[in-house]
Symmetry: C2
Subunit: 336 residues, 2 copies
Amino acid sequence: MKKNKLKKLITDIFLKHKLKKKHAIICSEAIINAELVGAPSHGLSRLKMYCDRINKKVINPKPKIKIKKISQSITHIDANNSIGFVAADIGIKNAIKNAKKTGFGLVGIKNSGHYGLSGYYAEQAVKKNLMALVFTNAPPAIAPHGALKTLFGTNPICFGTPTSSKIPFILDSSVSMINRGKIRVAAKTGKKIPEGVALDKFGNPTTDAKKALKGVQLPIAGFRGSGFAWMVDILSGVLTGGNHGGKVKDPFDDFTGPQNIGHLFIVIKPNIFVGNYNQRIKENIKRIKKLPKIKGVKEILYPGQNKFNRYKKNSNKEIQIPENISRDIDILVSKL
Amino acid sequence: MKKNKLKKLITDIFLKHKLKKKHAIICSEAIINAELVGAPSHGLSRLKMYCDRINKKVINPKPKIKIKKISQSITHIDANNSIGFVAADIGIKNAIKNAKKTGFGLVGIKNSGHYGLSGYYAEQAVKKNLMALVFTNAPPAIAPHGALKTLFGTNPICFGTPTSSKIPFILDSSVSMINRGKIRVAAKTGKKIPEGVALDKFGNPTTDAKKALKGVQLPIAGFRGSGFAWMVDILSGVLTGGNHGGKVKDPFDDFTGPQNIGHLFIVIKPNIFVGNYNQRIKENIKRIKKLPKIKGVKEILYPGQNKFNRYKKNSNKEIQIPENISRDIDILVSKL
């Protein structure tokens, strides 16, 4: 389906689910963006879930979002169980505003939900010529080091910076071996997942996506990945007043209450310490790209380049929708 | 040797190398701490190197450190090629001061050198009931993803938070499979390094520490680890005005100039958004510790617990010094 037609359709679906027009557009843009950058696990495959959660009153379509200014630099947001896209959009915009004014913006959000891709928000800051660190927690997927049960989410570490070129540096890395959304897509489309990324519920290695969803995802780098996941849980959950310690509900399976996910945005003006940042980052990237390459590697890419290229390529094409997701959308559309 | 006797000796050695008394004590305390927490790669094994660099005028023993206050929250420090311990000590103390006043402290440092363990500085903030993120770059050790040559340092990601108990949560994880200092110690003591952590200069896997030092260290988690290393290089080097992009000199091998390492300290008051942080972090840790454990695991530990336990145990014992390092120290002592 054509990008703009699909965007209109998703907006209409969210409007039908009682979101304000402004909020419906924020959501549909984030979902389309995920499809275009090649992250369908954070795109249309979640649309039905968001609608189900609104219908079951665990996402609030008309939230009264409280924005509490703590200082010129620091803001706390109680998202009142809004859909995550909306909370995060307000959050990053406030962090950007604070950073523009004082060199530095810190925004914590509680009572939010799944907001799609962290990199999408980091990119908003980068487009305003700012750096950003973005943290969010997520439902249990990874077992803490030494534990037999999942508790941490895939808890991404996300960092973005201007590069002096139009392609932003956006590192957006979950601390699990594989993105949980990718396992969900594999389970929905009946595909296998790679070896070494997950265990089944008995603790045995598995390549079966459905078994992996019931089991444990493996963190990157053993105890280090487990430590990173714990750090992100503290920064985004414990610090902000959001849920933490395994209390974030799975949005697909658990409708007993809102997720109360926490997010943390740290935005920094790159020229805050010394001027001429753009010149320095340009030199940094140039030096690295010039290194001798491994056989078969054409170019050393910085994080975000692949995503940018996919976005550009996909922007001119129709968005392909897998059959089972297409069925979900048809049902939602039939109710418009 | 007894802890206090050794501390006095190291202080005297640094005094002999023209450091101010206050600075000499900062250095000897950091070095002794590294020994006590079980990180000898950041302890006595570097003492001769620091002295050599002072003698060769690539560490400035009497630096004129410029502290530039940018706002109540933000400080920039030009360390004038001081020994890293001294620059980092001033840096974290300023970040703590700023955070106490405004809820948040951001300190960037340029023209510094190797400062030992990142966790040592995070711990200073935690002792004042603050959270800290600490970043530093380091001499080339890891090849960027796709490159055949090392460029990034082992660039640790370090995070500390109060826990409501006397044992701080200190995650201090280099993004290489193994700490470079550990390879140095293995090379000095003739021990092998584990498989899968390094390649020799021809790109072949090696367990020979000396060959590994001439080759490439492997990042954790492939392209993700390479991305984390790049992020740390940007945050600590490009942002602060320090060296970056592979320009940080190896302190052991390259005496052609100062290192100009950059550090970045981000300190946050944990009650900034919602009160009662201590209660929430206590609950977080309690929930995780209660999980069912893998066979053989007695307790799920948070990052920093092992280090704390080693510190406690080692504090009452004599510090063991390997023979070759002991010889280096004897030579330094003979010149007092």
